[in-house]
């Protein structure tokens, strides 16, 4: 499905990246990348139970969206959610401990990689069910609207989710009630082994149009595009103009999950996708625009390496959970005194 980038909003409104923002956004992108590479290594050493879904190649989306969010705003991550959470400001140490299933994890090892969440940064516990957080985030947006607090909700999901009933029900409701929400589709082109061309009829913009909301497809690997489009969508939500279906075109360069050899897919296809690296693109662009210099970049890389090294050390040093923790928090009234 080839889609032209259609932008119903005037381009003059596009926010451009400023100098201070540029260094912060590139730092987020590099942090996400290095964190995930460290996580993959731990996984390959059999230190992470279960399975993990790296988002390598999606960093420009997370950083571009985060560039417009406040702490008060909520995001909900997906099964491929480490980057979405790190961008929102989730503590890397406690997140690594969570992925490792340890006691000091964000959620005590109950959640793992699939349900990453953190209240301090309003990153709601992710639902790894495809499309599982779209309706919930629509409700979060309703709460922001009713509370008139100016808050915005961002529901991340993949292109695989657009064929779930909850996507359609929630988009209808979100648009009908003009809720402050961004429906952020990270379109990596694949639902595990099924390409979008074999799963999805029509195109995303028509779906947005069908629900009477703004829709926009942008290059998800170019930071300036993700930043500008997310800015328009978040502003629209914040000023009470309702939701946007914001589609980040972001071809998947790697397997669905760590260990997926992608034998169902032509090698040149994923190699080409992987070769277009959003971090390289952003670095080149920011340097050319004079928003970043080599010295700053070096400083960011060193700082991120230290943060990630510490996160791995913190995670591995954290003890296993107390088995008794499995019985806590089943029902709010059960643990009322703990809140």
């Amino acid at each position: 499905m080839t889609q032209a980038t259609t932008d119903p909003i005037t381009r003059e409104a596009s926010p451009a990246i400023s100098a201070g923002t540029g260094t912060e956004l590139i730092r987020i992108m590099i942090l996400i990348r290095q964190f995930e590479l460290a996580m993959v290594e731990l996984y390959q050493r059999n230190l992470i139970p279960g399975f993990i879904h790296p988002a390598i190649g999606e960093e420009a989306v997370h950083a571009g969206v985060q560039g417009h969010l406040r702490t008060l705003d909520h995001v909900a991550a997906t099964h491929r959610g480490h980057g979405q959470a790190l961008a929102k400001g989730v503590d890397p140490n406690r997140m690594m401990a969570e992925v490792l299933g340890r006691r000091d994890g964000l959620l005590g090892g109950v959640a793992g990689s699939l349900h990453i969440g953190d209240w301090a940064t309003n990153c709601l516990p992710a639902s790894p069910l495809v499309g599982g957080n779209i309706a919930t985030m629509t409700g979060v947006a309703l709460a922001h609207k009713d509370a008139r607090d100016g808050g915005v909700a961002v529901a991340y999901f993949g292109d695989g989710a657009v064929n779930r009933g909850s996507f359609h029900e929630a988009l209808n409701l979100g648009s009908l009630w003009k809720l402050p929400i961004v429906y952020a589709v990270i379109d990596n082109g694949w639902a595990i082994s099924v390409p979008r061309t074999a799963s999805t009829a029509g195109n995303f913009l028509d779906r947005a149009k069908g629900y009477g909301m703004y829709g926009e497809v942008v290059d998800g690997k170019e930071l300036h595009s993700t930043y500008a489009a997310a800015g328009r969508a978040v502003d629209r939500a914040r000023e009470g103009s309702g939701p946007t279906l914001l589609v980040f075109d972001c071809p998947r360069g790697y397997g669905h999950e760590e260990g997926d050899a992608q034998e169902y897919r032509p090698r040149e296809d994923y190699r080409a996708a992987a070769a277009r690296d959003p971090i390289q693109l952003a670095v080149t662009e920011l340097i050319e625009a004079g928003l970043l210099d080599e010295g700053q970049l070096q400083g960011i890389r060193e700082d991120v390496d230290r943060v990630v090294r510490e996160a791995v050390e913190f995670g591995l040093a954290s003890p296993q959970p107390d088995p008794q923790a499995a019985f806590d928090f089943v029902r709010p009234s059960q643990n009322a005194s703990l809140r």
């Binding site: 005590g108 959640a111 069910l129 599982g132 409700g139 509370a147 806590d328 009322a336």
Partner: protein
């Protein structure tokens, strides 16, 4: 205000009072606004609280329940009405994967303070897609509170408690009971979850039941009284959590038990009750515990056919008499 009121009035009053008390409470559902509810259980609320707090929704159960949950964890206190409990099938993902689990997986950070009201309809020729009795599905979801009261005072007090509670509650009403009337409870009364009520005291046998089963049990208890049999009827009121001490204490006294429900028999509510009693009191029982429930079939339309699968009063009475006769004074 009259001394008695109906279950329908109890529901309206409970929501009215809680909407008035707490500005974060709001109601959403299909036809809850101008129409006043498919069963007239939201009558008058739109006029009083306006469309932001009494929201009509599209026919989108998935989005309704998911949106209520999201609003709840972001600080509101929603009541979401799903018009028939059969329709829970349309939003079961939101209930079983999200509403019941988000508190656990978030270690208590996301508080699903919401009440999902829905309605069982059985015995009203509604056909198989409007005659759900999903209580056993819901009891199988750790984290969820499942409430299914019978009389008006209990209904009001439990609904008020549900709305105030931080628990995710499925509040199961029964369309056959909306017109039932009964005495008012004390002003402002709430009843916590997990508290059963002895609605009739007896010494020979305990009938454990809830919702529409209560009046069936009371009718049978009155019928066997003339034969000298004293049946105790326990209205469970909440199915999750169950009032285990009240159940065991009644059965320990009578030493015979029937679990009566209008749900499907296999793996139904009665199966859990019988297992519970057997585990704790097996050697004290005078007769093997019995489940009486609806047959393992979908619900047919014709009144004759629907009655054929219902837990019949004849069978209930006969079973009570057999069990009491069999076990008179000696262990089985």
């Amino acid at each position: 205000m009259s001394d008695t009121f109906t279950v329908r009035e109890a529901i309206i009053e409970a929501m009215d009072e809680e909407l008035a008390l707490d500005a974060t409470v709001f109601l959403m559902g299909q036809d809850v606004g101008a129409m006043g509810g498919n069963f007239a259980t939201t009558r008058g609320l739109l006029g009083k609280y306006g469309p932001d707090r009494v929201r009509d929704t599209p026919i989108s159960e998935d989005a309704m329940v998911g949106t209520a949950l999201g609003a709840a964890i972001a600080g509101r206190r929603p009541i979401v009405e799903v018009m028939f409990s059969s329709f829970l099938g349309c939003c079961m993902d939101e209930i079983c994967n999200h509403m019941s689990q988000i508190h656990y997986v978030s270690r208590g950070l996301a508080v699903p303070r919401m009440t999902l009201r829905t309605v069982n309809v059985f015995g009203r020729s509604s056909g198989c897609h409007h005659s759900g009795r999903p209580e056993a599905w819901l009891m199988h979801l750790p984290g969820l509170v499942v409430v299914a009261p019978s009389g008006p005072a209990d209904t009001k007090a439990l609904l008020k408690y549900s709305i105030r509670s931080d628990d995710p509650v499925v509040f199961i009403e029964n369309a056959m009971l909306y017109g039932e009337s009964g005495p008012r409870g004390p002003e402002g009364e709430t009843i916590p979850f997990g508290q059963a009520a002895v609605v009739r005291e007896g010494t020979d046998i305990t009938i454990l039941t809830y919702s529409g089963g209560v009046r069936r049990a009371l009718a049978a208890a009155r019928a066997v009284q003339s034969k000298g049999v004293s049946a105790e009827v326990l209205d469970l009121r909440s199915l999750a959590p169950l009032d285990i001490p009240a159940i065991l204490s009644s059965v320990a006294k009578t030493r015979r038990v029937i679990a009566l429900g209008e749900d499907v028999r296999t793996a139904g509510v009665g199966a859990e009750l019988v297992a519970l009693v057997s585990e704790h009191l097996h050697s004290d029982l005078f007769a093997a515990p019995v489940r009486i429930a609806a047959a393992d079939t979908p619900v047919p339309f014709s009144p004759v056919l629907e009655e054929a699968i219902a837990p019949s009063s004849a069978k209930l009475i006969e079973t009570v008499l057999r069990m009491v006769g069999e076990g008179s004074g000696q262990r089985v």
